[in-house]
Symmetry: C2
Subunit: 197 residues, 2 copies
């Protein structure tokens, strides 16, 4: 049975709250009881929704990848010009990482040591899909400009590092505004990729 | 009393082993008993050496910053040319992140949510010192070249992201060699900073 809108909505609410609990107490330090209390469910009710603690962690990570799809990739999919498409992808990804609402989810997405076996493989496959998308887009930008100073794959990982590391230091209330940050990083990346642009 | 060579050596051994246990089980999931067993001490013996679990985490992070000092910063301190000094700093930092021996320590260094209060402040002050060093060096490189397209602070954070993110994806046994990676990242960073070089 496909999930209805309501069950999907409920699952996302559980994911957001559970992500905050995992973020605060660590995956091993947080009990299913802690999470049930935070969500406002009985422990049995929580298990009914998520199956197991492993599965809950997987659902949170999967939700993180859904957000990336919905808020970044869907918005650029109709842009034909590779350079503009890459620029908008970077802007969207920075916006996703720096906005407070989903921060716990994006952080947990990268702490995937706790996820094992088949569930880990599924998340890694979704991450790989995004890296492949970036690599291919970077390759198109290089081809169009006739410059290929860096392998597209290494450039994709350099970009992911710059952007995903933001959660470690960027403070939306701090002295560097998000617009200034985004412009600086987009320009830095394109110079790194193509030389003077 | 200043620590003798022997007690310092012992503490570093404890830090390396404890870092592996924290890495595998999470800070909250690992007990002092787990760590004592891994180190080959009684629980009382471990407490004698490290004081508390908090303090042990602090010692591991402090050791991580010591390694950065010893293996990266000490080696570049006598280089006068800013560009060469920055280049060697990047090479050294990449080498530190990609070598397997201390990987657990460098990963834990960035999971500082578990550290609280004064100990957290001490580690953050050491991290800030390194960021200030990078920022100042980047500023000198820009000044010398007459190009200042990116704020040195944002460039420093872009660099830290590129390099520190390596632990998420770089496999020393994989298809991309460490030399090729290092050259590509150094060149990418200098192009991003200065445009075509």
């Amino acid at each position: 049975m496909a999930p209805t809108h309501d069950t999907r909505h409920k699952m996302r609410e559980i994911c957001r709250i559970a992500a905050r609990v995992f973020y605060e107490k660590g995956y091993d330090g947080a009990s299913m009881q802690d999470i049930a209390e935070a969500v406002g469910l009985t422990k049995a009710g929580l298990y009914h929704h998520v199956g197991s603690k492993d599965r809950l962690l997987f659902e949170i990570m999967n939700y993180g990848m859904d957000i990336l799809d919905e808020t970044v990739l869907q918005k650029v999919k109709d842009i034909a010009d590779p350079r503009e498409k890459l620029r908008q992808t970077i802007r969207g990804h920075i916006d996703l990482i720096t906005r407070a609402r989903d921060q716990e989810i994006t952080v947990i997405l990268h702490e995937n040591r706790s996820l094992k076996g088949a569930l880990r493989k599924k998340i890694n496959a979704r991450k790989k899909q995004y890296i492949d998308f970036l690599e291919s887009l970077i390759g198109q930008v290089q081809q169009e400009s006739g410059k290929a100073a860096t392998s597209p794959r290494l450039a994709a990982f350099a970009l992911l590092g710059m952007v995903n590391w933001l959660y470690q230091w960027f403070d939306p209330e701090g002295p560097i505004g998000q617009e200034a940050l985004t412009d600086a990083f987009v320009n830095f990346f394109f110079r790194g990729l193509l030389g003077k642009t």
